[in-house]
Assembly symmetry: C2
């Protein structure tokens, strides 16, 4: 195999089996005598594929019947703005829990259409922890509470769903959706950019409770109204058909793997293997995040001497371990362990880390 | 070959050579040991590909230096709303030339952020012509004049660029961009959904004069501001990387074909071949559009007896002629002849049409 072990934080590795299926059908898809990219999204073949993708996602996440599933565009960042646009009256408060780069950015993009409030923040710890629930300053009249269950840059993850009372909870699940079972009914809305655990970039999957879609706080062009997308089964305009197709192949693959219970087990094993290698290195490698808040998806770590970073990255790449450079905001390394990364890749990384430590004393 | 001749209006046929290149590199792209979908858009390899795609597009269209090229998401429909959002003050007039379904829709989506005005319309002719320029009621203080050079449903196309004085001209060129050379300096802004003449759906290409990007009529989230996208080379957030890559392959293919002068020649030959078959059928087939406004890209036609439609479509499909059903708004048939359709496909269609007419008297 000449494909590497790809630890990219996103756009991230896709399951090889999914890529092979897409490759086989690239010129002739499903008897259509054309690529899936070349057929009308309003044709029967594409509509059947799209419906199956939604059904598989509903099955994987056990989505209740009063939730709509949308396949949208724009990246999670567009929805940082579009969610308050759809859900908040001018000047209405929306509470944000700040645990890293992405939750901060979500708050900033909301400010034109809402009065976003940082109800809790771990900024003073450099985002190495999650603020205790008891300290959150929530407003029971807020339009919603927004949080980021997994922060890709800081490697911080919630391991349970916070209780926010009757205010709808909204989660940017871009980087941990489908990594384990989740109780969808606890949320008002879940949304995720596809390019980590679902498919290629340019697709956003949203799971929204119907009562939230009924909010209508300001006049909007149809294309910005989630309710309009829901009414047209995400075909209000031409969707990202390739992204939807790849997402569907990924959902099938996940079901073949045993669903999210199996994925959770694998993801836990992968993360435990890597954290054990870091924690057992006598300080050669170090992860700064409080253990209870450590991410299973993105594991940032630093070497004891940053002067070794360049050699580490160069040797890793030569060993087929790709995209390990950490985000500039935190430096060092970062290994992203989304669903498509098998345990073998993690073992190759921990083996390399031990060898590197030995070679470079 | 088991691929059909694909006359889909969009998502439409892609050049087979482009699909083959994408297929070859699907699991391992460009020495990256990963798919192009699995690498960071901020990595050197992707950035180089992205820059080359922009350069090739600039070369093909001879884009002047004071225009930015953006690779966006959301489909043209999102930009129906986002253009007035970026360019019009509340209640400011924007002039729209209405020549079919898409220009009508563009006007409707603009109404939250502008006061759109139908400065001319061919609705009374059922969109079978283009209103004479002398009758357009343009306001010299309008924020812009918007038109749709080619209407895919009604098969109506402008064959020259209208003179609108000093008001910026904005064109939704989704269905005829890159089909012939165009004088970009005549426009304030050109935008196009990719899924007809550029690549897969989920990508929008925009060419915008810098002075228009400097307008700032209302507070906006960054993600909705074109100027912010331009400042970040369309990497304000994760772009549709697959779409950008396919677009780049298409631009390379167009250059290999001889560029837009060669494409124009081919597109003219293709359209003339099909219109000749229609006009020479003694009324068996009929296209209702005034000859001066006939589209080279989308050729709608009806059979003399609509009761034959089902047989025509069934036999055509059996003959490998795909996606010929007309839009429900006009009925009958529609053959879309974008760049990826070779003359051989058009000849196969006209041959079939003659044979069908003979068999069904």
């Amino acid at each position: 195999m000449t494909r590497g072990w790809n630890f990219s934080a996103g756009p991230a590795a896709l399951p090889e089996a999914v890529l092979r299926r897409a490759q086989e059908g690239l010129l002739e898809w499903n008897g259509a005598r054309a690529s899936v990219m070349e057929v009308s999204h309003r044709g029967k073949a594409f509509e059947a594929m799209a419906a199956r993708a939604e059904e598989d996602l509903r099955e994987l996440l056990n989505v209740p019947g009063d939730y709509k599933v949308l396949f949208l565009q724009g990246g999670a960042t567009q929805h940082f703005a579009q969610i308050p646009m759809n859900l908040c009256a001018d000047g209405q408060r929306a509470d944000y829990i700040i645990t890293g780069h992405w939750s901060e950015k979500a708050l900033k993009e909301a400010s034109v259409y809402a009065k976003p409030h940082a109800a809790a923040s771990s900024a003073t710890s450099n985002f190495t922890t999650i603020p205790a629930r008891a300290q959150w300053q929530l407003d029971p009249n807020a339009a919603y509470v927004h949080y980021t269950p997994n922060e890709t840059i800081h490697g911080v993850e919630f391991h349970s769903i916070p209780d926010v009372g009757d205010v709808p909870l909204i989660a940017d699940m871009s980087s941990d959706i489908l990594s384990r079972p989740v109780e969808v009914s606890r949320f008002g809305m879940i949304y995720a950019g596809a390019q980590k655990n679902i498919g290629p970039s340019g697709l956003v999957v949203m799971i929204a409770r119907e009562d939230l879609l009924a909010r209508n706080p300001r006049p909007l062009p149809k294309i910005f109204r989630y309710a309009e997308h829901a009414a047209q089964n995400s075909m209000l305009n031409t969707p990202n058909t390739w992204g939807w197709y790849l997402a569907g192949l990924t959902f099938q693959w996940l079901r073949e793997q045993g669903g999210l219970v199996a994925m959770e087990q694998r993801n836990r094993e992968k993360a435990e293997t890597l954290y054990a290698a870091i924690d057992g290195s006598n300080g050669y490698y170090r992860n700064p995040v409080e253990p209870f808040a450590r991410s299973r998806m993105n594991v940032p770590f630093v070497l004891h001497d940053a002067a070794l970073d360049a050699a580490f990255l160069k040797d890793a790449e030569a060993a087929g371990l790709l995209a390990l450079k950490g985000h500039r905001a935190v430096g060092g390394m970062r290994a992203s362990l989304y669903n498509a990364m098998p345990i073998e890749g993690v073992r190759a990384l921990t083996g390399f880390m031990a060898d590197f430590a030995q070679r470079h004393g």
